[in-house]
Every structure is written in C-alpha cells, then in structure tokens.
C-alpha cells in the first residue's frame, strides 16, 4: 500500500518550495470554488426541475416567466464553474503558451458571465420584473445576493486578465502537469472532455446532495438505512473525482502507467460496494426516496421519473470501468 503513496511518485516532489506552496494554494482555491459551484449547481437544478415540470405539463409560458426571474441562479452557477476552470488552468496545461491563452479565455468568460448577470439584475429591477432588490425567494435577499455574488466574480475575472497582462511573456508559476486529455488524439480527447465534464457535474451534484441529505433527509424509523446509503452514494462521485485529480493526475507519467490498473480495480470495487448498499437499502423501503428524501432528488420532479437518480448512482461505476478498460488497453499495447 505504501508504494502507492510514496512521496517520490508525485510531481510536486520535483518542485521547489515556492512552487509547492503555489500548487497548494491553487488546490485549496479549487476546492473552495468546487464547493461554490456545487452549491449553485444544486440551486440551479432545483430551478431547472421546476421549469422542466412546467414545460412537460404544457405550460411553457410559466417556464419562460420562471426562467427570466431565476436566470441569475443559472448564471451564478456558470460563473462559479468557469472560475473553477480558470484556477484549474493556472494549475495545469501542456505548456506556458497554452496556459496563458487558456487563463485569458477563461478570465474573459468569468468576467462576461458575471458582468452580464450584474447588468441583468439591475435591468430587471429597473423595468419592474423584480418588485425590489430584496424581493425574496429563493432567499430573503434575492436578487441582491446574486448581484453581490456577481461583483465577486467580476473581480476574479478582472484579476485573472490583469495577471495575464502582467506576465504575458512567461508565467512565474509552472507546474509541469499535463492533463490526461492532452496526450490523446482529437476524437478521444472530445469524448474524454465530455465524459469528465459530465462526471464533474455529477460530482458537483453529489457533494451538495450529500451535505444536504444530513439536514434534509428524514432519518426516522425504517428510512434511516436508505438515508445513509444515499449519503455514501452521493459522496462517491466527488471523492472519486478528488482522488483522480489530486492523486492520480499528480503522479509522474511512469507511475500513472504503473498504477492505473490497480487503482481502477480498487475504484470499481468501492463503487460496486456502495451501489450494492444503495440498492439493498432501497429494496428494504421502496417509498423512502419520495417519502423521506424527495428533496435530494430534484430532477425526479414527477412520480414517474427515476432517471436522474440512476445516473447519479451508476456514474462512479462507469468512470471506474472506463479507467479499467484504459488500463487493459495500455497493457495490451505495451505487450
């Protein structure tokens, strides 16, 4: 076991002290932004589930009215997510030129979304669509809270752009970590990026979902087992994402090749255990999701759709299986 975590396996072991601190700081900022993105994503899904409900029930006019009112919720998620990408670009990239461009593009994206959100709220207030800046719902301070959140991200976007302008020749901070996708050919890279993005969304959902389950789920009596199983299944995706990001992607290239197979097998086993736990818990009480924990499944907006739940449950297993297949293919190629 110790050989998997030996210090010399990891890229940071090759960095000087200053670079290691910078690596740590960007990691922490990423975690904070991940939590922000997760929370705003969950909020957005809540709004989206209701809007979807209006559409499928034949009231698109209600959906449009709701979307116009709730747009700052959606934009709050997208500005958080792009800020997360922005910090990720600081951390990783195939070379400095690529990173400079990437940081600049993402900085512009953060600035644009947050700037638009800021203006949108003011305009909506000006034309009377919001009766006041603290009209209320979904929070007592809405939309003022969304306005202030935009200001924060306008500052983040501006800082990123100013940083690039200052260091346009050479970034002072360089960590030679290549995202896995950079090594692949175009079609593979596309599927990889799509898959990772989807997995990230599930992980964002899972993090807030798990946290909220503790407070929102009704743990009494026969429902308790299912509630605990839900917490584990929700935590699985963000923990696995963190593991691949902060453990596997930090490994030196030769160690990545060596560890991919055992890590993917371990990942499959863990996924299988928690998925089994989830279904055993569900089997013991089939009305638990809707009677005790309906709030944790926002997209399951009607009584006839279980798809969202199944996607969340199976994603960690799919990720593990894909990693396992990659490891097998790599082994075959080696031979």
């Amino acid at each position: 076991m110790k050989r998997f975590f030996a210090k010399e396996n990891f890229i940071p072991s090759t960095l000087d002290k200053k670079q290691r601190i910078q690596s740590l700081v960007t990691s922490l900022v990423m975690i904070v932004l991940f939590v922000f993105s997760s929370f705003t994503f969950f909020n957005m899904l809540y709004s989206f589930a209701d809007i979807l409900g209006s559409i499928v029930s034949g009231s698109p006019d209600v959906a449009i009215k709701d979307l116009l009112r709730a747009l700052p919720l959606y934009l709050s998620f997208f500005m958080s997510l792009w800020a997360l990408f922005l910090v990720h670009a600081f951390r990783k990239g195939k070379d400095d030129e690529y990173r400079l461009k990437s940081i600049f593009r993402k900085g512009i994206a953060v600035l644009s979304i947050s700037g638009f959100n800021f203006l949108y709220i003011l305009i909506m207030r000006f034309v009377g669509k919001y009766t006041s800046l603290v009209e209320g719902s979904p929070s007592s301070l809405y939309p003022l809270d969304a306005l202030l959140y935009s200001v924060l991200f306008i500052c983040i976007g501006l800082c990123a752009i100013l940083y690039i302008k200052r260091f346009k020749e050479k970034l002072p901070y360089t960590v030679p970590v290549r995202p896995v996708a950079c090594a692949e050919k175009k079609p593979v890279r596309f599927f990889y990026c799509f898959g990772v993005s989807f997995w990230t969304l599930i992980a964002l959902f899972g993090l807030t979902g798990a946290g909220l389950t503790i407070f929102v789920y009704d743990f009494k009596h026969e429902y308790a087992f299912f509630g605990i199983a839900v917490i584990f299944i929700y935590l699985l995706s963000p923990i696995m994402l963190a593991f691949w990001e902060f453990y596997f992607n930090e490994l030196k290239e030769e160690k990545k090749k060596e560890f991919l197979l055992p890590v993917s097998i371990a990942s499959m086993v863990v996924s299988a255990i928690f998925i089994t736990l989830y279904f055993v818990a569900l089997k013991t009480n089939m009305d638990a999701p809707s009677n005790a924990g309906f709030g944790m499944f926002p997209i399951t907006f009607t009584a006839t759709a279980n798809y969202g739940t199944l996607v969340v449950v199976f994603t960690p297993a799919i990720v593990s299986i894909v990693a396992f297949i990659r490891a097998i293919i790599a082994k075959i190629k080696e031979q």
């Binding site: 909020n43 809540y46 709004s47 589930a49 209701d50 809007i51 409900g53 209006s54 029930s57 034949g58 009231s59 209600v62 709701d66 979307l67 009112r69 709730a70 919720l73 919001y130 009766t131 006041s132 009209e135 209320g136 719902s137 979904p138 929070s139 007592s140 909220l212 503790i214 407070f215 929102v216 789920y217 009704d218 743990f219 009494k220 009596h221 308790a224 509630g227 605990i228 279904f279 569900l282 089997k283 089939m286 009305d287 999701p289 809707s290 009677n291 005790a292 309906f294 709030g295 926002p298 399951t300 907006f301 009584a303 006839t304 759709a305 279980n306 798809y307 199944l310």
Partner: protein
C-alpha cells in the same frame, strides 16, 4: 483518529441521525387524531390546492394573488371563512425561506379573516430543501394551523379528523366529521425501476377512517392524490352512459396510482361509513367533480400560477374542454356566461349548510390589468 475510532464512530453517527421516539399503535390512540371545531349552519371550508411555491416563485407576487382569493372568498361567504383546507403541494422544490414565509402569511390571514387552516401533505411537499420533520414542526408550531402527526404506525405522515361539534370540544358527538388523509407521494416497484407509481390511500388508513368515524355522522374527506374512483366514474359516464351529475373540467389525467393492484378501498369503504364528499388536488388541469353514487368526488381548483395550469380558450374545439365549458356555463346565470379566455386557477368552497347537506362552488379568479380581475363562482 485511529482505525478503531473511525470504525466506532460510524455506527454512532448512523444512530445519531436516526430519531429514537416511541412509535404508537394508531388503534390504541384514536383520540390523539381528533381536533374539534364548533359546528354552525353554513360552515364554510375554502379549499386551496397545489400552490406550489418553489425556488422560481416570487413570494411577493404569489401572496398578492392569495390576498385576492381570500378577499373574494370572504366577501362571498356571508359568515366568513371558517376553515381553509390546504390539500397538498403547497411547496415543490422550495426551501426553508418559502416555508417560513408561507406559514407566516397563513397566520396573518388566519387572524385577519378569523379562520383555522388544516394541512394535507401532497407528493411534492416532501420535495424540498428541508426535512419533512422540520416542515411538520413549522405547522405544529403555528397557532392557527390544524396539524396532527403522532409518531405512529399508520401509513402517511399526517392523518387526522376535525370533528364539527355543537360545543367545539371533542367531548360531544360530532355533527360532521372532516377527514384529512395523507395520500403519500410515490414508490418504486423494484429498486431498478425506471418508473415510479403514484401512491394511494392504504388499507390501514381505510381501517383508521372506519375506527374514527362516529356512526351515523356524515363525513367529508380531503387528501391530495385522486384515487382510481375518479377515473372509474369518468369512464362510467363517457363510455358506460351513466348519468351521474358532474361538472367542471378534465383536461388531463387524474394522476392516480393507475394499476389495478393499487386500487384503494377508501371510497368504497368510507361510503358505507358516512362519506358524502371527497376532495383532492394533484392534477392542475382538472377540477372535474362527480356525484358518484351518493359521494361527491372532485378535484379542487388549482390555486395560483406556479408550475402549470390550464388555459381555457372558448374557441378551442377540444371535446373535453367544450364539455367542461358547456357544463360550467349551464351553471352560471345569463349575464355571467364565460365567453372569454381564462385560466383554471382559483379555489373551491364547500358550505356545510345543515347536519345533512353541503354545497360546492368553484371559484375561477384570474388577475387582469387594472381592477378588472376575472371572477366567477360556479355551483356544482
């Protein structure tokens, strides 16, 4: 933390999450489910249903609409509103802010108009960013709210009965009984099922009804999800040629637990035990009501503009819409016939006129520009 501590902390954490209260047998505590109100002739019960406050709602605007409904209903009832029945889905995808705001609002209106309000769970009331127990406590702690949820072995969160008695206490025999049942939310038939079934009133709830019923006393039941009887009655009229009295609109399915194995015994059994009326919500595009062999069964009018509701256009040739419109217009006096577009939103009013009879009216109330709101009271 060492491994031992971690292993020990897991079951402790699990235990901490579960509550350890004493679960009572419902049939040994029948008195715990009873609330009493003073009976009088022309006792007015306003039914609001499927208000659906959610993260996209403007509570400010929604309250403005509810203000108009209360004002209109109060003006319409000579003795004022006695009881408001909130028949489920007050919330969907809402959070604690919405719940607190709503309960505060209802308390304010209860004081203003002098009514009590009773709570029924809908499938979506559980669908929010709060614990169902927390929501129950908000209702329990509201002084004008009637809400009873013992920690029992009876299906559903909240089943209780409001006895309308001559002196307003539970000590005397009721003149009428108002049953409030939790018709549940939904359930999977198997762990891997893609679909989910809407819930239904279970056998133990039916037995509870029978046990709580005072022999010879007429009853009205309120719950959220229609049982299969609504569809049976509709089909008997439209396919079997039955001549039950019926009125109002059915512009979508009833949203019931539609498989034969989930047919509830409730209506059939309750009918043999005093049931005169059963009112529910759930399907927003439906307020169709039928006198099904002595029991008036009907959906209330959806309250407010959240999520979805039917837009009625008299020029729309759809058969079911025209049938509903013809029935409604036949119930309206000449000067009030509906010839303009309107939305199927508002409220429903049951007036218990005497110890044997009640009347039912549906209110269609749409906000319009200026002071020209669309208002129609339609008798069943």
């Amino acid at each position: 933390m060492n491994k031992k501590t971690i292993l020990l902390s897991f079951p402790l954490f699990s235990l901490a999450l579960t509550s350890c209260g004493q679960v009572i047998n419902w049939n040994e505590h029948l008195d715990d489910y009873v609330f009493a109100m003073q009976y009088h002739a022309d006792f007015n019960i306003l039914q609001l249903t499927d208000i659906h406050w959610n993260v996209n709602s403007s509570t400010t605007r929604s309250k403005q609409y509810l203000d108009k409904v209360f004002k209109e209903a109060d003006a319409h009832c000579p003795g004022g509103i006695d009881l408001v029945e909130l028949t489920g889905d007050q919330f969907m995808l809402a959070n604690t802010y919405h719940v607190k705001t709503f309960v505060e609002y209802m308390e304010t209106k209860a004081v203003e108009y002098g009514f009590k309000y009773a709570i029924i769970w809908g499938n979506h009331d559980r669908h929010g960013l709060y614990s169902p127990n927390w929501l129950a406590n908000q209702y329990r702690n509201a002084s004008h709210c009637i809400y009873i949820e013992p920690e029992d072995n009876l299906y559903g969160r909240s089943n209780f009965v409001i006895n309308l008695t001559p002196d307003g206490t539970t000590a005397t025999t009721p003149v009428w009984q108002l049953f409030n049942l939790d018709s549940g939310a939904s359930f999977s038939e198997s762990p891997l099922a893609i679909g989910r079934n809407y819930d239904y009133i279970r056998d133990d709830q039916v037995n509870w009804y029978v046990a709580e019923h005072s022999p010879g006393v007429p009853t009205i039941a309120y719950y959220h999800i229609p049982q299969q009887d609504n569809l049976v009655a509709w089909n008997l009229i439209h396919e079997g040629g039955a001549s039950f009295k019926h009125n109002f609109f059915k512009l979508e399915g009833f949203g019931d637990a539609d498989k034969p194995e989930y047919k509830s015994k409730f209506i059939k059994t309750a009918k043999e035990n005093g049931l005169k009326g059963a009112f529910m919500g759930h399907a927003h595009n439906v307020d169709w009501t039928v006198d099904y062999d002595g029991v008036v069964i009907g959906l209330g009018v959806k309250t407010g503009t959240e999520l979805y509701f039917a837009h009625i256009d008299p020029a729309d040739p759809k058969e079911e819409l025209q049938e509903g419109l013809a029935k409604v217009n036949a119930s309206l006096p000449v000067g009030e016939k509906i010839e303009e577009k309107f939305d199927l939103i508002g409220a429903s009013l049951v007036t218990i006129t005497d110890p044997e009879h009640f009347t039912l009216e549906h209110l269609y109330l749409n906000e319009r520009e200026g002071a020209n709101d669309f208002v129609r009271w339609v008798e069943f």
